[in-house]
Symmetry: none
Subunit: 239 residues, 2 copies
DNA sequence: CGTTCATGTAATCGACGATAACAGCATCGG
DNA sequence: CCGATGCTGTTATCGTCGATTACATGAACG
């Protein structure tokens, strides 16, 4: 095995296992059985090492996902691309922080590759006339929003305990850049939207009613019942 | 002037002027005319210093913006809040990175305050029946997307040369969480109107939920409670 | 055989976060 | 007035880290 490859592999392992999110060049050298000058001759500086390591982790992850690529419907690819992005962040949080958080002056190739993949999907959508926004701003919108939610999930897990937010933001962004889908989903979901909105309105009001019409116990029970309403399914129309 | 305050002020200046985005405790001490042990007795460690510094910069910025707060329309506040967030990131990039990029183990108070401000606006919107999503996930969606686009603008200015992307993402997210049409701005009774409308919607839905989440007795009690809500008074009479 | 160049090693530099140890000095109870 | 207490300031130092210098080794080549 190439010396450079083994160093990268060792660095990737240490990075994934790191609790603080960073790795010292000394630790990499000791674990790889090399001396520091060797590392610096191979990668120039620490940033070169980390950049190569991130690229390696990214390539590995992409390889494991490459089977599910290029479906017939580019909208499906757009969605799965978002979800893969988020999943990568959750699987390799330290590598992800290095990719998208400040710290590395040079943009890792993995970032450019992620942008390229997204841009390709959006170009396919544009060719089919399904983009409401030019591909370039659309790429920036999707990329920035996706990294935002992924970084939030990774760096502030207590503030963002539910990773379903990723789906919500995803659909919000996608609805904004895509023209209306072939099948109008607005039939059954409009009812549910109205219902959810009504529940939200009332729950926000419960604490502000004067004079309070409910005892605390009643209010708590009412609040609990209200939360159950939106989750009741509508008889899904044909799909 | 308080010694602690001068140190924070000096640290804020050095942070804003820093090219690399971080400041050494030694530089702060030298510029403030104190010794390192003093700094460590004041702030515990470097993270304490940076956290306090970030809070200071945030408070200063918020003070300069506080005049434009609390407009009549919470939708306007939501939009201006997003734009202020992005503007703060562009004005104080280093402080912003410290707030929302990994690095600080402790979440600065400025972050929690930003979340609280956003949550308050969303709660006002929910009380008026203009939220399609509960306030909590809405807060997370807006916050994560906003930090995503702001971090992108700040850390990768070459990849995101046009800050108009912030507006595009903003409107995309806001369209996803707000109900259509500001509609009738009928003044003070908007809240009660929204509440009555919500009650009507839910009472009409109660018989159509499948599977039925409530027993007949529960449904009857819930229905009765719902009818009591619109007859309650206004939350805060004076404003 | 001597030159050249790549590879490996020991030792070290400078910056940094953090702390120990000590000195000055004020306050306060006795 | 005095000693104890506690805060403030200073010097010196520790350990870690990124990065480099200087030197040794060995193979390739003319």
């Amino acid at each position: 095995m190439n010396a450079r490859a083994t160093v990268i592999s060792v660095a990737a392992r240490l990075l994934d296992e790191s609790a603080t999110g960073d790795v010292s060049t000394r630790a990499v050298c000791e674990a790889a059985g090399i001396q520091q000058p060797v590392l610096y001759r191979l990668f120039g500086d620490k940033e070169g090492l980390l950049s190569s390591t991130v690229d390696h982790i990214w390539d590995q992850y992409l390889e494991s996902k490459r089977q599910a690529e290029k479906s017939a419907d580019p909208v499906v690819d757009l969605r799965s691309g978002w979800d893969s992005h988020t999943a990568f962040a959750l699987t390799h949080p330290n590598a992800y922080k290095l990719m998208f958080a400040p710290g590395l002056r040079t943009v890792p190739q993995a970032v450019e590759e992620a942008i390229r993949i997204l841009r390709d999907v959006l170009n396919r959508l544009a060719a089919e006339g399904r983009l409401r926004v030019p591909p370039q701003p659309a790429t920036q919108m999707v990329m920035a929003a996706n990294t935002g939610i992924a970084l939030a999930l990774v760096t502030r897990p207590t503030l963002y305990p539910d990773q379903g937010v990723s789906t919500l933001v995803r659909d919000a962004i996608h609805r904004a850049i895509l023209v209306e889908a072939p099948g109008a989903e607005s039939g059954g979901s409009a009812v549910r939207d109205a219902r959810t909105s009504a529940v939200t309105t009332l729950r926000a009001s419960l604490g502000e009613l004067t004079p309070e019409p409910f005892t605390p116990v009643e209010a708590a029970l009412l609040d609990q019942w209200l939360t159950q309403i939106p989750h009741s399914g509508e008889p899904e129309p044909g799909e």
